[in-house]
Amino acid sequence: MWAVVDASPPPGSATADAPGDAIVVEDLRKTYPSGTEAVKGVSFRVTRGEIYGIVGPNGAGKSTTIGVLGTLVKPTSGRALVDGVDVARDPMTVRKRIGFAMQEAGVDDLATGREFLILQGRLYGLSKDLAGKRADQLLRLFELEAAGDQRIKAYSGGMKRRIDLAAALIHLPKILFLDEPTEGLDPRSRQALWATLKRLRERLHATVLLSTHYMEEADRLCDRIAIIDQGRIVAEDTPAKLKAGMGGQSIVLDYGSATDATTPLRAERALAGLAQRIQRSGTEVVVYVAEPAEATPRILKALDKAGVPPASLRIQHPTLDDVYLKYTGRKLEQAEEKTAVKA
């Protein structure tokens, strides 16, 4: 469907792909007036046409980083180039070249979907006719055609997300920023949005930088990811390579919520020397071994002997959750809980 979109560039947008990276971030730092150091020296590069994910819990610095790149947040120091343009020095040029869908859908509740898209297009310099044409195409692409003349106020959360994303695409940006694009969506809407993003990437060949705290989302959508924790990037690579770096499968020992707080620690001690690596996370102990099936009886025996048999056990392939655990020392859910308690 996107193929039928008239892809003539809007006035002011770059007409040819500049060579090199679409996004360059060097030693970016942001300290808010309150004293909160949200970003503490982040550096990364995003290649043209790539889907790059910034993954981490709430409060890790994802939205601040993406906010700086989208010109909404002023960096304290460091450098950020988007399509070769310095975001701090020439924000207006950056805005012409990017599309941005925020964490909270930024929509005009009193407007109809079509009015909203047309106005957005016209603010990017499109003619009335072209903006109208694009609005119709985007409404069709995002399956909002029937609701196009309804006020956005009446839209569901998923529909608001989609119209917001459509608005970010009305001027066919070369670079798209998506801040937690599926936050608050039900699993079905999330899957639908993933499919749409994949279609857009294929047809628009745009560079996409997305932030998410859903590991599955990053795994499925991104070519490369950066794991960000407490304002710093702790790991960066393709999801496959990051997972491969974890070794083979792992054995997860679950001690359940009723267990003594010291039990996982005692289990870890009991297994010393039996595994390549052991990591505790809440009531779980993750044991990394070369051959889990062979090692399991040995491990259970050692745990029995120490008087700390697990409530349950499972063998799993490495996930990005494991990668996060390896680099930060805690699981993503725990980091989220910690952030929630702080808030």
Binding site: G67, T71, V73, T93, K96, D108, Q120, Y124, G125
Partner: protein, 261 residues
């Protein structure tokens, strides 16, 4: 993109949406309307009483006397919506959406203030039309009436409008914007809008009125209503509007920084 194209686009957006917000229209029309009808009825005999007591009153029709005041009230109350609307845009994320577009923040503010300014001009005209039913006719006719509306609307935009917009930008809180509304009522009541200066007993209040910039707007409107085009009164009104515009632009420029985190 020039400043005017996005300003016009955002002005148009608000103009299209006003009919979808009946509460906003009612809020700025109903209280002044009630005041006009109520004050007019209660003080109907006041001009006669003051004249009999040896005083002077510019008209024998009290409805005519308060007509400019009510237009002024409509404009001041109506423009306050600009701040609330900006906060609403901020809270539903739309403000940031526009900031992400290649649009100057001045276009966002001007679009808001011009659209609300046009609305209060029309609402003020409606009140003047209603006043005609009570035989309150401007001495300067239609041109004078249009000038009267322009003076009230411009003052409302550059004083109240810019103040509420700045409070909205700074606090992003609708309650903070609404909390300053009572100040604007005081601004109107501490003028000769409802009573000629010589009929006000307290010297202190008379002195406060002289120092209230809104008084010079009321004086110009009264001139246009009762006597004619008084260059000094009209000039003074535009000087006050110009002063507020300069201060308002500087204040907005200062607060502009708080929009970006």
């Amino acid at each position: 993109m020039s400043l005017w194209r996005p300003t016009w686009l955002l002005t148009r957006r608000a103009l299209i949406q006003f009919p979808r917000l009946p509460a906003v229209l009612a809020f700025s029309l109903v209280p002044p309307l009630i005041q006009f009808l109520l004050f007019g009825a209660i003080f109907e005999n006041l001009p006669d009483q003051i004249t009999r007591a040896g005083g002077s009153f510019p008209t024998q029709n009290y409805y005519e006397y308060i007509a400019p005041a009510i237009v002024f009230f409509v404009c001041v109350l109506g423009i306050a919506n600009a701040g609330v609307a900006l906060v609403n845009d901020y809270q539903n994320g739309y403000f940031n959406k526009i900031l992400l577009a290649p649009v100057s923040m001045w276009a966002i503010l001007l679009g808001r203030l011009i659209s609300d300014g046009l609305r209060i001009y029309v609402q003020g005209a409606f009140m003047l039309g209603l006043a005609l039913l009570f035989k309150a006719e401007p001495a300067t006719g239609l041109p004078g009436a249009l000038l009267m509306l322009a003076i009230a609307s411009l003052f409302a935009i550059f004083s109240v409008g810019i103040i509420v917009a700045n409070v909205a930008l700074k606090t992003k809180d609708a309650q903070a914007v609404q909390a300053i509304f009572p100040l604007f009522f005081i601004l109107i009541f501490l003028t000769t809008a409802f009573m000629p200066e010589q009929s006000i007993g307290s010297e202190l209040v008379r002195n406060i009125i002289k120092g209230n910039p809104a008084e010079y707007i009321v004086r110009a409107m009264h001139s246009l209503m009762f006597t004619g085009y008084d260059a000094q009164d009209i000039g003074m009104a535009f000087a006050v509007i110009g002063g507020f515009a300069v201060v308002g632009i500087l204040l907005t420029r200062f607060n502009y920084r708080s929009v970006y985190k």
